[in-house]
Assembly symmetry: C2
Homo-oligomer: 337 residues x 2
């Protein structure tokens, strides 16, 4: 294996000089720089990553925690992160969280500066005692689509799910719907996801503002997933006085609702309006009306903040709220008669 020592020897210079050339230090004369570069090319030398990291005292690694990779909504955010990181000198390593145990372990044993330089947490909000850990971590942490009141000292990129849920419901109300259902994730889920709960909160606000009752038979929750949503929607749509519109906590679940409607012979949007959340690719494919989140930009922005912090650690924390946007397609209409 060729080392920096070999290069130094062949070029007739010292170790330090080679290192300086490698790190484009200005403290090298043009002549020697060229000579060294030639030798590097001739010997086909590449630096030893681990040695460099050790000496530098930096790992050049950023770890990202994502739940349920490859669920489209998180994958899209991840893609934004990957794209921005590929232009930096940092490597991105993925840590998929698909069990409550793994989730707990991550928050319990946060990586230290001896393992990674920074952490990106996507869509996983910490509990109270976990937030404590985050605050005391010895490396920068950026939360994407996750938050906690105790984390004012951390960078966060979030979205207002309450507002999103409210606007989704408001749109349906504005179309003339009066019986509006909601189908979402279990509020007490082992992963402590809260977006579905918040969107439901917004939904309730919208109904209250319009003086509409929040009827418990119009609310159903279950595990995240298309089939689960379909199974939840079926009985709701079979009610004597069934809802004329349904807000789903995600596009995936909205698709489940569409399936249930089809099974029951309900036409969308004539007999039933459905609105989803996220605007993942299938929403476009299926013509689903939905609340768009700028998923890709979410990820990009998070990485941007992380890189800035790595550069200048004492920068004041930023809490950025990404906008949502109502995208009207073909699954919503005024209620049929």
């Amino acid at each position: 294996m060729t080392t920096i020592r070999d290069v130094a020897e062949h070029a007739g210079v010292g170790l330090a000089t080679v290192s300086r050339v490698l790190n484009q230090s200005p403290l090298v004369s043009e002549g020697t720089r060229q000579r060294v570069l030639d030798v590097i090319r001739d010997l086909n030398y590449t630096p030893h990553a681990a040695a460099r990291r050790l000496s530098l005292g930096k790992t050049l690694i950023i770890k990202v925690f994502v739940p349920f990779f490859p669920r489209p909504s998180v994958t899209e955010r991840l893609a934004g992160a990957v794209s921005l990181l590929s232009q930096s000198e940092y490597d991105l390593v993925i840590h998929n969280i698909d069990t409550p145990e793994r989730r707990a372990t991550c928050f319990e044993h946060l990586p230290t500066s001896k393992e990674v330089d920074g952490v990106l947490i996507i869509s996983l909000s910490p509990l109270d005692h976990e937030a404590e850990n985050l605050v005391h971590a010895d490396i920068p942490i950026v939360l994407i689509d996750a938050d906690h009141p105790a984390l004012a000292r951390l960078h966060r990129v979030t979205t207002d799910d309450v507002e999103g849920g409210r606007r989704a419901a408001e749109y349906l109300i504005q179309l003339g719907h009066r019986r509006i259902g909601f189908i979402g994730d279990t509020i007490n889920n082992p992963f402590h996801f809260v977006s579905s709960r918040d969107r439901f909160l917004g939904y309730q606000q919208a109904l209250a503002a319009a003086r509409l009752p929040v009827r418990s038979e119009y609310y159903a929750e279950g595990e995240h997933g298309r089939r689960e949503a379909r199974d939840l929607a079926r009985p709701m749509l079979s009610l004597a006085e069934r809802p004329t519109a349904i807000v789903a906590a995600s596009d995936t679940q909205a698709v489940g609702v569409l399936e249930a409607a089809r099974e029951l012979g309900l036409r969308v949007p004539e007999n039933l309006s459905v609105i989803g959340y996220d605007d993942i690719e299938v929403a476009d494919m299926m013509g689903l009306t939905t609340m768009r989140q700028m998923l890709y930009e979410f990820g990009q922005r998070g990485v941007e903040l992380l890189l800035e912090t790595l550069d200048s650690p004492d920068r004041p924390p930023v809490h950025e709220i990404m906008p949502t946007e109502l995208v009207v397609r073909h699954t919503t209409a005024p209620p049929g008669i």
Copy 2:
């Protein structure tokens, strides 16, 4: 920062002993092991990754090249890889390839053993001169859904796209279709993807075997994508003698075909049969008949082979062919009258 030295000091043992405890060497008495473990816990010690890697002479990193992350077909394979790797001591770093330049750079400057321990290449087949590089790499490389005749010495997990294309077409022929179109990627694309070409080859074989003519107006190619496929399908479906069925080179493109059909007022499957390829999630959502590849298992198997090779480098190379399976849903039927 607490180091192994601090631990040794507090425990009143030597460096080597602490290291042995950390690496569960059997050469430590139970008494000292416990003492060391206690000190490790008390000091909240964690090993320094870079130092360990340097000393070990292993990077403990595996790099994966994927094109067009987060395209569902590659993301699903990636997910399989991630899942298996999470149980190992290796970190997975993603390298997204979304331009021909990046693609070339990757094959030209393959990572060396000083950067990573192994490479996973997903869905990117090398050209002749690039294959040369791969063979001479100084680290194990596993190709997933990619291949080249010169690479018999490498592990590969592939699929028979020719057979898949043939079986898709055969199914339509068997349903009674005689005018069958094909919509796929440009054969000469800057990324040198060949799966679309191979599937088209299989399609041609099936038609030939049934003594059906391969008509050029029933073939259209373009950039990969739903909209592109829709634009390609529109004129084909507007022909005086339009095809009664279409084989799409991917599910994404099949969805584009469905959109074109809808625009033109053609009912699926009554007026037009459509068959896709991959069986990504949307295929199920949209009831698309398709050729299923076991994408997730693809990725898992590739990592499995890579890990085995890292363990015992002289194991003979394995070329594994993953099966495909026809999944009949609701977009195919005998031709209407």
